[in-house]
């Protein structure tokens, strides 16, 4: 009996062994941009004003915007349209996958435009060319003038489907537009789409403006202005243009920022050479003091859950970054490296804090974990500061100044963006010189 059991077990084991699969672990891949084909969206011939739509080449324009968005991420490589093998209308029905694979595309975007009852309907499909199947199909209806936004929303949806994180294309950037010689700069608040299109100026340029920041709904902006030579924090409604002073402080207020729920504004208030951090409730207008220290505490920024605040302070001698609970307790220094740290901004994902660092006459933009570990300096330059996060926490936008010569010429201030990996540093085009950028959250949520 025992013998038979042993033999049986032996057989089971050997059979298991014989049929066990060969397993290979793949722990690395490449970070090369994904080749993607964006076919021009075709215009349905049942559309109203079919001729004028065709003349405007709306389908091509939308596909160009999508391509430009993807190119700017550094994660995609939109292929040249000369090599496209199928007409847009046929490809939208059913692409010939083998033919598209021949031009080395891995994903294909097709789409259709219809205008009916003076409404624009844009539908698109995302195809996985290697698996020969559809990955995503959506349509949007809007007023025809909104076509650029539709292009950005489509880009966001595709980006999300292919990378696993939300996009950041249907967003805006507010910044300080600068003009004129260095000692007589005219500074205005300006707002534009993230791709640099549709710039609008929100102030006239009579007063100096600094550090504009969006609220979570992107309708309000808080910023600092030198109105009547008194630097104070203001609130501006973008749609109505109404401005108001934030809080009734007897001195200078600066470095404002909204809380993640938009109910509070946090800022610095300086009096007699000392500055501390205060918050103001937007509804009740009640002001609360958060730090109370003889050192200069400034640049506060909330964590995305609103429970913590990071700020910079020179209480240890040199300016360093600290974190604390939002009521001001549990203050903890998190930077200990050589150099001066400033402008900390908590990532919308909550895992990282971006900052500016000055060391040996050079300026760096960097990121670190929220406990101060894992510091990574992403870019180094003569002068750069004020990083602001894209809503998905993947890209930072900041501004960089160039040195002027002995005659005061050659000075420029420009916006730049960089991926948190340190790759894909890009100049963000603006109509004028620009500084102090702030990225909005997604407009369509």
């Amino acid at each position: 009996m025992k013998k038979t059991i042993i033999i049986f077990i032996f057989f089971v084991l050997t059979i298991e062994n014989a049929f066990s699969l060969i397993k290979v672990d793949i722990t690395r891949g490449n970070l090369d941009p994904l080749p993607i084909a964006v076919s021009p969206l075709h215009i349905d011939n049942k559309s109203e004003d079919f001729k004028s739509l065709k003349e405007k080449k709306l389908g091509e324009e939308i596909s160009k915007i999508i391509e430009k968005n993807f190119k700017s991420t550094g994660l995609f490589n939109p292929l040249k349209k000369d090599a496209f093998v199928q007409k847009p209308d046929i490809a939208h029905l059913k692409p010939r996958f083998e033919d598209w694979r021949l031009i080395k595309a891995q994903a294909l975007i097709t789409g259709k435009i219809v205008v009916k009852d003076k409404k624009l309907k844009v539908e698109f499909r995302l195809w996985d060319l290697t698996a020969a199947k559809e990955m995503l199909a959506l349509s949007f209806t809007t007023t025809p003038t909104n076509w650029r936004r539709v292009a950005h929303i489509i880009s966001d949806k595709i980006y999300e489907r292919l990378t696993g994180e939300t996009g950041y294309f249907d967003t805006r950037i507010i910044y300080v537009s600068e003009k004129g010689p260095k000692d007589q700069r005219v500074k205005k608040l300006a707002i534009m789409d993230q791709d640099g299109h549709g710039t609008k100026y929100l102030t006239l340029g009579n007063e100096l403006v600094l550090t504009p920041r969006f609220n979570p709904t992107n309708q309000l902006v808080t910023y600092m202005s030198y109105f009547k030579n008194m630097p104070r924090v203001y609130l501006l409604d973008i749609e109505t243009g109404i401005q108001e002073v934030v809080g009734n402080f007897p001195g200078m207020t600066f470095a404002p920022r909204f809380s993640p729920d938009g109910k509070k504004i946090i800022m610095s208030f300086a009096k007699d050479g000392n500055s501390d951090i205060y918050s103001m409730d937007m509804e009740t207008r009640v002001v609360e003091r958060i730090t109370d220290h003889s050192a200069i505490d400034t640049s506060p920024s909330y964590s995305p859950d609103g429970k913590y605040i990071c700020f910079n302070s020179d209480r240890s001698g040199l300016q360093q970054i600290y974190t604390m609970r939002s009521d001001g307790s549990q203050v903890k220094r998190i930077t200990f490296g050589s150099g001066i740290y400033g402008t900390p901004v908590w990532s919308p994902r909550g895992d990282l804090i971006a900052f500016t660092k000055m060391r040996k006459g050079k300026f760096y933009i960097g990121v670190m974990r929220s406990d101060g570990t894992g510091e990574r300096l992403l870019t180094e330059n003569y002068y750069q500061e004020a990083p602001s996060w894209s809503p998905n926490g993947r890209v930072l936008i900041f501004y960089r100044e160039t040195k002027s010569d002995s005659k005061g010429k050659g000075f420029t201030a420009k916006l730049w963006s960089i991926d948190i990996t340190g790759y894909n540093e890009r100049l963000v085009k603006t109509e004028t010189d620009a500084s102090d950028p702030s990225w909005s959250s997604l407009l369509s949520k």
Binding site: L21, D25, I26, G29, N30, A131
Partner: protein
């Protein structure tokens, strides 16, 4: 009647003759030894010849003095030819190459291409060649004992117990897929990111069927990242095909499981 019989007899004989002549050839083709052997042979000679030639010569000369009929594998062929022009009977030469071929299976001599591709693994620590050598030695021994026991003549095709790729084979496959896999960067690196794909392969390395093993996870709410990751892994496998599988032993690798896990990479 008899004429018909004769014709029938002749015709059948002809058919049998043609079948007897052609069928064995058809049968023989697939059994042929793969041609790669000769390429590797040259590399071994080059490698062993360059660093060890001076020492080897001395040893060879000594050995020759002792016993003139012994031929060392390490001796350069040209030298042999010069010293012993009258010798070189064909059968002996054949034996010699066979011996070397056997030795060549020892993975101390991994193809240079494969070595390059295994650069990824180098950081990890130890001499993979040594281990590969040990494993393959073990395999050879296993194969030999099996031959003795069961008298199976086809070497590794029918060895159900040796179901694994050698390190070099695995490296080649891994390096190939590294190149094809575009890792989606937006994945949360603090979650379980293991995607297991079971493949059924054709003998040429193309994919017959690819199946995600934890398929249910693809549509689990809150796990949308898993779907994106699994799709990227499937894309990688499809782009890569035909996969770089060993030229022989189809039974061994016709079913293959690939475990994709980008956690380390995303953590940077």
């Amino acid at each position: 009647m008899s004429r018909g019989l004769i014709f029938s007899f002749l015709f059948h004989t002809l058919v049998i003759f043609i079948t007897a002549m052609t069928l064995p050839f058809m049968m023989r083709e697939p059994i042929d030894v793969p041609p790669i052997v000769s390429v590797e042979l040259i590399q071994i000679k080059d490698k062993t010849f360059i660093p060890y030639a001076p020492k080897a010569r001395k040893i060879i000369e000594k050995v020759k003095d002792d016993n003139k009929r012994v031929v060392s594998e390490q001796a350069p062929p040209s030298a042999k030819a010069k010293e012993k022009p009258d010798r070189i009977p064909l059968p002996e030469d054949k034996k010699e190459t066979k011996q070397i071929v056997k030795k060549k299976q020892n993975p101390e001599e991994i193809k240079p291409q494969i070595r390059q591709s295994s650069e990824f693994e180098k950081e990890e620590l130890f001499d993979t060649n040594e281990i590969a050598a040990l494993i393959d030695k073990a395999k050879e021994e296993q194969a030999e004992t099996q031959k003795k026991n069961s008298q199976i003549t086809q070497s590794n095709v029918k060895t159900p117990f040796a179901k694994a790729l050698s390190l070099s084979e695995e490296d080649a496959l891994r390096a190939q897929i590294f190149g094809c896999w575009s890792v989606p960067l937006g994945l949360p690196y603090d979650k379980d990111l293991l995607v297991r794909i079971k493949l059924q392969l054709k003998p040429d390395g193309r994919i017959l069927k690819a199946e995600i093993l934890d398929h249910a996870r693809m549509n689990t709410p809150g796990q949308s990242f898993y779907k994106i990751l699994a799709e990227s892994a499937l894309r990688a496998v499809r782009i890569c095909q035909p996969l770089k599988v060993p030229p022989t032993g189809y039974d061994r690798w016709k079913d293959l499981q690939l475990n994709f896990d980008p956690t380390e990479m995303l953590k940077g």
